[in-house]
């Protein structure tokens, strides 16, 4: 893995959280993102140094709202949680053992906490079938591109009847039984990362990974209140997408083989300040193939850099995949502009779409003239 370290240079690798890992699956075809993430490069810092905004800031109000809601849910030894689990899973458990793995102490190393998590989950798994257990702040581990990435999920693993469920607490509201679908799917992608990591851990413990359910319990505020409600979310699709992406990252070597030798994305930090000449860094980034699409704007910190580059090199996809698909898969904007204007002779592969566009141009001119 020294090649990834060499690409990152002297900066420390950034920690992955489940959100970042979940976002990996957002643009699976992009080599650039795969390399940046595998090398643990700080994308936000990189793109800002290049002079582009990230626009991924979180409002302090949203942050404190989330914290408050979590505190409410976990108050009184997780009384709400147990009530909700009874409701959504149709259980009759009256009480559950509660273990906070985070209690080991924040200064305990990842390794120590991970081993502790393993021990707690193992004993929960070997519990008699009727004893329920809540395991808070489990520390999980995931292999990303050959690295071990530790995840500190603010989730709870719940065990009863020999089955484990991941419980995720989110602060967006479920109003009259409905929540913002974008937020639910983001939560599902994130929870899938935890399910995946827990199944990994189970496999290591010699337990059946399927004992970790693909149904995730999502706890959210009900209506306009601070009162928690819950629903089950099936994350099987998200798990599949994540697995594919992790497999791809595991084969990062073949991707690296195609990159120029000696490639470096080092920010040359002086303290916290990047000193790497911008044109140099920009050229280095551009040597890693990207696959910009407008969806990147909400999924990847590099988006404004990649959009600028995509526009500069005349990518039609920068206008959206539907435009590209409608125009018969033409990749280049200049070619598309020629085709819609009817200038030049279309190549043989574009003959069919050129004819259709010729018709569209004729009727448009006919109407607008």
């Amino acid at each position: 893995m020294s090649r990834l370290d060499a690409i990152r240079g002297r900066s420390l690798p950034v920690d992955h959280d489940a959100r970042r890992i979940a976002a990996l699956a957002a643009n699976p075809a992009c080599d650039r993102r795969a390399v940046l993430d595998a090398a643990g490069i700080d994308k936000a810092k990189t793109v800002e140094h290049l002079g582009f905004p990230t626009r991924f800031g979180q409002s302090p109000f949203a942050v404190s709202r989330t914290q408050e809601f979590r505190a409410t849910v976990k108050a009184h030894g997780g009384a709400h949680i147990l009530r909700l689990l009874r409701e959504v899973l149709g259980l009759s458990v009256e009480e559950a053992g509660y273990h906070d793995v985070g209690d080991v102490g924040a200064d305990a190393g990842h390794g120590v906490r991970y081993r502790h998590t393993m021990a707690v989950l193992k004993s929960a798994a070997e519990n008699p079938a009727d004893a329920a257990t809540l395991v808070d702040h489990p520390l999980l581990k995931l292999g990303v591109a050959g690295y071990d990435v530790y995840l500190e999920p603010d989730v709870i693993a719940f065990q009863v009847d020999r089955r484990f469920h991941v419980v995720a607490i989110k602060s967006f509201a479920i109003i009259d039984g409905q929540a913002d679908s974008g937020k639910v799917s983001a939560a599902a992608r994130e929870a899938a990362v935890y399910v995946h990591a827990m199944r990994d851990l189970f496999a290591q413990l010699g337990l059946d990974p399927e004992r970790v359910s693909h149904d995730v319990v999502l706890i959210c505020p009900k209506d306009f209140m601070n009162f928690p409600t819950a629903c089950l979310v099936d994350v099987r699709l998200q798990l599949e997408a994540l697995k594919r992406q992790l497999q791809r990252l595991a084969k990062i070597d073949t991707l690296l083989d195609r990159l120029p030798p000696g490639l470096s994305l080092d920010l040359q930090l002086d303290g916290e300040t990047p000193t790497r000449p911008v044109p140099e860094l920009s050229a280095a980034l551009s040597s890693i193939p990207a696959r910009y699409a407008p969806e990147c704007l909400s999924a990847c910190e590099m988006a404004y850099f990649c959009r600028d580059e995509a526009r500069a090199c005349g990518s039609l996809e920068a206008l959206g995949r539907t435009v590209r698909d409608d125009l018969g898969g033409v990749a280049s904007l200049p070619v598309a502009m020629d085709l819609i204007a009817g200038s030049g002779v279309p190549s043989a592969e574009h003959a069919a779409i050129a004819e259709r566009l010729g018709f569209v141009r004729r009727i448009f001119d006919e109407v607008v003239a």
């Binding site: 409002s59 404190s64 209506d223 209140m225 969806e295 819609i340 569209v360 009727i363 448009f364 607008v368």
Partner: protein, 477 residues
């Protein structure tokens, strides 16, 4: 997207400005629209932070909440908002006429029109409606009498707005996208500032350059309801932590005013586009719905419950689909540019009439008498993908039912089946005609059982909604 819209997207980039997607304005535009730009506190479902609202560019009212976490202040905000919006709606609701149709019905002389910046604004209106319509005006947690009324009207307007062609509540970015195609991708096109930068770029600038500037949240604050996280962190939070009402007010004004200007610029741009023929008919349906809702409220009818019953939901869904189909078709009948979109997709064709056999009479299968069935042949260079037997209509003679007889290379033969009343005309040789499978009168509602006959498979007839104390006092924390 359609091929024409993709064509126009590329053309917009080529020309450096947005391209027209319509030659007429398909939505009725009120002489006195109410522009409403709500902002909410980040992290909350429906906690209002501020709003700019008013019926004229020079008549902006700024409402703000000094402490958005305070429940009382939220309801004070709602009461202030109600003081503006409810009288605006009631003014229209109060003036009714009786239609001079066969079965007479009531309709309002005119209707309110609320314009919000984007689909997020529409969703927020729904939440404001949901969070206020059940509130009690007496007892514990009593709110001002106007507050539940605001909730009921906003709920009504939002429900109507889901029917295509209704114009009492509209999102500006939707409206602009219906009339112009910019060089922005889908996700970028819900940014009002960016859209207007393409539609009406400053002199000497391309849409692309202008949109880059418009994207900067410091120059064009987000059009709501979500605020810029940077603004929250650096401006709003300090002003809420260490209250300074005057400065907070100015800060909120700074976030809202740019969007306010954009909204009125967009209204001006839309005003310059002539009305579509059928827009008035659709507005009339809005006026009728308004009168019905007003009577319902006046006679003590209850607000809609939190959930639709199964039949009501199915009925509503069918209604939405029908409205969408007939709106699409009406637009195409009113606007050759919209029809061009359908021509490009093969749902319509245009050509020149070659021959008309006006006196042709046949005995239709299964009938005994001779009837007039004129035949028309049309030469076209559009690709015609309809099969014989396809029923077609023409915007020039929407009442005349025709059926496709044959397509032979670029010659289409149609038979006219109906609508040959005395003053009707037949197509004449040399005339340019357009025929389509679209039908503005189509999209009729399928037969669904009455709510009281809900089959047991769908839970049987739902109990009638009765507001509960729980609804009326629902906590807002």
């Amino acid at each position: 997207m359609s091929l024409l819209r993709s064509f126009l997207t590329v053309r917009a980039v080529r020309e450096g400005r947005a391209q027209p997607a319509a030659t007429v304005r398909h939505a009725h535009l009120s002489a006195e629209p109410l522009v409403f730009i709500p902002l909410r506190l980040a992290g909350e479902a429906a906690a209002p932070l501020a709003a700019m609202v008013g019926t004229g560019r020079a008549d902006a009212r700024l409402l703000g909440v000094a402490n958005p976490r305070s429940r009382d202040q939220r309801f004070t905000f709602m009461a202030e908002l109600a003081e503006i919006i409810v009288p605006y709606i009631q003014k229209y609701a109060a003036q009714v006429e009786i239609s001079d149709t066969k079965s007479a019905y009531e309709r309002c002389l005119d209707a309110p029109q609320i314009l919000v910046p984007n689909p997020g604004g529409l969703a927020f209106i729904r939440l404001i409606g949901r969070s206020t319509r059940f509130r009690a005006t007496e007892g514990p947690h009593a709110v001002a009498p106007q507050v539940p009324l605001l909730g009921r009207w906003l709920t009504f307007l939002h429900e109507r707005s889901e029917f295509a062609g209704s114009a009492m509540l509209l999102a500006m970015t939707d409206l602009l996208a219906e009339h112009w195609v910019t060089g922005l991708s889908g996700p970028e096109n819900v940014n009002l500032a960016g859209q207007l930068a393409w539609i009406d770029p400053p002199d000497g600038m391309t849409g692309q350059d202008a949109a880059l500037i418009a994207e900067d949240p410091l120059r064009s604050p987000p059009a709501g309801p979500d605020t810029d996280p940077g603004f929250d962190r650096h401006v709003l939070k300090p002003l809420i932590d260490a209250p300074s009402p005057a400065r907070l007010h100015e800060a909120l004004r700074g976030q809202l005013e740019p969007t306010w200007e954009l909204m009125w610029r967009a209204v001006d741009l839309l005003r310059a586009v002539p009305d579509a023929d059928s827009a008035e008919g659709r507005w009339e349906r809005d006026r009728t719905a308004l009168a019905r809702q007003n009577t319902w409220i006046a006679e003590g009818g209850l607000p809609p419950g939190r959930w639709d019953s199964a039949v009501a939901a199915a009925r509503r869904l069918a209604g939405l689909e029908g409205a969408q189909q007939s709106y699409e078709a009406s637009k195409a009948f009113d606007d050759p540019l919209v029809m061009a979109e359908h021509r490009a997709e093969g749902a319509a064709f245009t050509g020149r009439v070659i021959t008309v056999d006006a006196d042709r009479k046949i005995i239709p299968p299964g009938k005994k008498r001779l009837v007039a069935r004129p035949l028309v042949t049309i030469g076209t260079s559009d690709p015609v993908r309809f099969a014989p037997g396809k029923k077609l209509l023409s915007p020039a003679r929407p009442k005349q039912g025709t059926v496709l007889v044959s397509v032979d290379a670029d010659i289409v033969t149609l038979q006219i089946n109906s609508g040959m009343t005395k003053d009707a005309t037949l197509p004449s040789p040399g005339e340019v005609v357009c025929y389509t499978e679209l039908d503005p009168a189509g999209g009729r509602r399928p037969a669904l059982p009455d709510v009281t006959e809900t089959p047991w498979t769908h839970g049987g007839p739902p109990p009638e909604y009765v507001p509960t104390d729980e609804d009326a006092q629902e906590a807002w924390s």
